[in-house]
């Protein structure tokens, strides 16, 4: 039990639960999940469904942050990927042809991968600080997306494409299935295979890792490329959900939300240990927060105050130092290396 209480994700989970309960007060049947037209339907489903792109982006971001980097360009990649796919599909003779849509999707994802690798190249190959390296693509990439869409919204009318972000499969929203698959893949690569160890090692101490024979370059390339790919998938999802590509606005500010999700999930921005489940939880908290704001009717002017409040509570509760100082008074052992000693003992 106490082990459970001390788990790193205990407090974020509590916050999530509290937010959900808060909704119940304002919305009857908030927890009810029914099957409508053979689809799972309900507020909880919505949270996961709308949170899916954020989870994806945040998963990629987690790995980047674990290496001690950051990727600001994900929003632009989201926009580019959606724009390219929709452009290709709108050029198809038959927008409903599965093959054509598949081709467009593959093309968009390939481009996302390349864009991610480009970031990786700047960071690992040339040695530019990640925040600036990815800022370049953040700015230019938004321009590229607008170039692709010509600044307009490209609307498509394709049922196979619609499936990705707005469709259902075996009553489940397809987006959730994609997220589950990507999560499983990431977990497999990092936890079953040894990628996770190498990432954490590079993020923990890059020079020591180099001397231990790790090719930091390779790891970084891979991680940034993966992050690009995740953003690409998220971009497809977002654009498919509304059957249109909006180069101007798709993915705007998603990088901030993604980083926030990662940090709430307990991965330090300085790099090192990371937690995939924490990130998923973090993203769900953010999405639930958004939904809560809509459903309990916080006026748009105060939305941000509400967000500030919740984020503050989350991070205070999560901080061992805060809990100690407030709940136990002073006098418990504190450590020389702040904030890291106890909280990192259990890893997902």
């Amino acid at each position: 039990m106490s082990r459970f209480l001390r788990h790193r994700l205990f407090w974020p989970a509590v916050i999530l639960a509290a937010l959900l309960l808060l909704n119940l007060v304002f919305t009857d049947h908030f927890f009810s999940v029914e099957i409508k037209d053979g689809h799972l339907y309900g507020s909880l489903v919505d949270i996961v469904r709308f949170g899916a792109p954020l989870i994806l982006v945040a998963l990629g971001m987690t790995l980047v942050i674990a290496t001690g980097g950051i990727d600001l360009s994900v929003g632009s990649v989201v926009a580019i990927s959606g724009a390219l796919a929709c452009l290709r599909i709108s050029d198809l003779g038959d927008q409903n042809s599965t093959g054509g849509v598949l081709g467009a999707v593959v093309l968009a994802l390939a481009l996302s991968l390349v864009l991610g690798a480009w970031n990786g190249f700047l960071v690992a190959g040339i040695g530019i600080q990640p925040i600036i390296a990815t800022l370049i693509l953040m700015v230019a990439g938004r321009g590229l997306a607008q170039l692709v869409t010509d600044g307009q919204i490209i609307t498509v009318n394709s049922s196979p494409y619609k499936l990705i972000g707005g469709g259902y499969w075996l009553t489940l929203p397809f987006g959730i299935i994609i997220v589950a698959a990507v999560l499983a893949l990431t977990a497999f690569l990092t936890r079953r295979l040894a990628l996770g160890l190498l990432i954490e090692s590079v993020g923990g101490n890059a020079e020591a890792s180099r001397l231990a024979g790790i090719s930091a370059r390779g790891v970084l390339m891979m991680v940034y490329a993966f992050c690009g790919l995740c953003a690409g998938v998220a971009g497809l999802m977002i654009s498919s959900n509304v059957s249109s590509a909006d180069g101007n606005n798709a993915g705007l500010w998603i990088e901030l939300d993604a980083i926030l999700a990662v940090v709430i999930g307990g991965t330090p921005l300085a790099g090192g240990r990371f937690s995939l489940s924490g990130t998923v939880l973090g993203a769900l908290i953010i999405q639930t927060l958004t939904t809560t704001i809509y459903s309990i009717g916080v006026p748009p002017e105060t939305t941000l105050l509400f967000k500030a409040l919740v984020v503050t509570i989350v991070c205070l509760l999560q901080s061992p130092a805060f809990r100690e100082k407030v709940f136990h008074g002073r006098g418990r052992p504190t450590s020389a290396r702040p904030a890291a000693e106890e909280k990192a003992t259990v890893t997902a």
């Binding site: 600036i132 940090v263 105060t302 500030a308």
Partner: protein, 328 residues
């Protein structure tokens, strides 16, 4: 017996630590010259002064950010605090408050916000990113709560700040804001280089743990830098009010990124401990000059503008990196 001075001493004669900043400065000049060759009416002193005039607020904000980044932290709240400062000024002036009282109050509010965030970051050991992000939401939220419309400032003092010109001779001029900014920059450079606070900032950024064990007042230093950053943001907000003569909740959206970018382009490491204020000044100038080049180019569509900014930034960083890096 271990007198190994001889042949080694000569090896590190010229301060190699200044090389990145020098390279940045040289590249900036090169960019200016290139602009002068390409565009008519570009290669004038006033263009550089205009960059200062148009970016005075950003520079002040970036100065505060430099302190924070030097300790290895980050402050995402600056843009919102800037907006909040414009908003509070505008509203209070509208209610007939005297200008200088407003200025003092706004500066105090900024500093207190920074102080609060710094204290939370230090005492509760929470990552700066998340705390200042909450601060960003808070300040922006406060703006909207005050009002969603933009509010004009008609106060005489503010207008005077906004519209007076300080002639430098030869048809060149600067705004009072530039002078304020210059004072801020010089004061900050002095603090960083010649006071204990400044050196503690560098030490904390180099290694917080070591700084602690060396008996440095890490707590005070960390809280101080966020306070400074909050103060600078509020001052930046005032300068922005001078510049725009309006208060608006959507002012300075994303300015935190510009400020961080300016600091980092100036050669300061995001991990803390290395960098110079001069670098930050150059960083702001580079961003400003890119803007100027874009407007002189004048025919770029919206998206080509962005792509072009990206390309210029890329070229700049790449050259900076290739010329500046003679490490291992």
């Amino acid at each position: 017996m271990t007198s190994t001075t001889g042949p080694l001493a000569g090896r590190r004669t010229l301060p190699r630590k200044y090389i990145p900043v020098l390279v940045t400065a040289a590249l900036f000049m090169a960019m200016f010259v290139a602009g002068g060759i390409r565009y008519d009416g570009f290669a004038t002193g006033q263009i550089i002064l205009n960059v200062f005039i148009d970016n005075a607020f950003l520079l002040v904000v970036a100065v505060g950010m430099t302190f924070v980044i030097l300790t290895g932290g980050i402050d995402l709240s600056v843009g919102s605090v800037v907006a909040l400062a414009t908003m509070i000024s505008a509203v209070l002036l509208q209610h007939g408050w005297p200008a200088y009282a407003v200025i003092a109050l706004v500066l105090a509010i900024g500093a207190v916000l920074g102080l609060g965030m710094g204290a939370i970051i230090h005492y509760f050991e929470i990552q700066p990113f998340i705390v200042t992000l909450a601060g960003m939401f808070l300040a922006r939220g406060l703006c909207y709560t005050i009002g969603t419309d933009s509010i004009s400032i008609e106060d005489a003092t503010f207008t005077a700040f906004a519209q007076s010109r300080i002639e430098l001779g030869g048809g060149m001029w600067v705004s009072p804001s530039v002078l304020i900014t210059a004072v801020v920059v010089l004061a900050a450079a002095y603090v960083l280089h010649y006071t204990r606070l400044g050196r503690n900032v560098y030490a904390t950024g180099g290694s917080e743990q070591s700084a602690l064990l060396m008996g440095l007042p890490v707590a005070r230093t960390k809280i101080a830098v966020y306070t400074i950053s909050g103060f600078c943001s509020a001052l930046g907000g005032l300068l922005l009010s001078f510049y725009m003569l309006s208060g608006y909740g959507l002012h300075a959206v994303g300015m935190e990124l510009d400020a961080i970018a300016a600091v980092v382009i100036g050669g300061t490491l995001l991990t803390g401990g290395t960098g110079y204020l001069l670098g930050t000044v150059l960083g702001v100038l580079v961003l400003g000059l890119i803007q100027t080049i874009i407007s002189f180019e004048g025919t770029l569509s919206s998206w080509w503008t962005k792509i072009f900014i990206g390309l210029l930034l890329f070229a700049f960083i790449l050259l900076q990196r290739l010329i500046g890096a003679r490490r291992r």
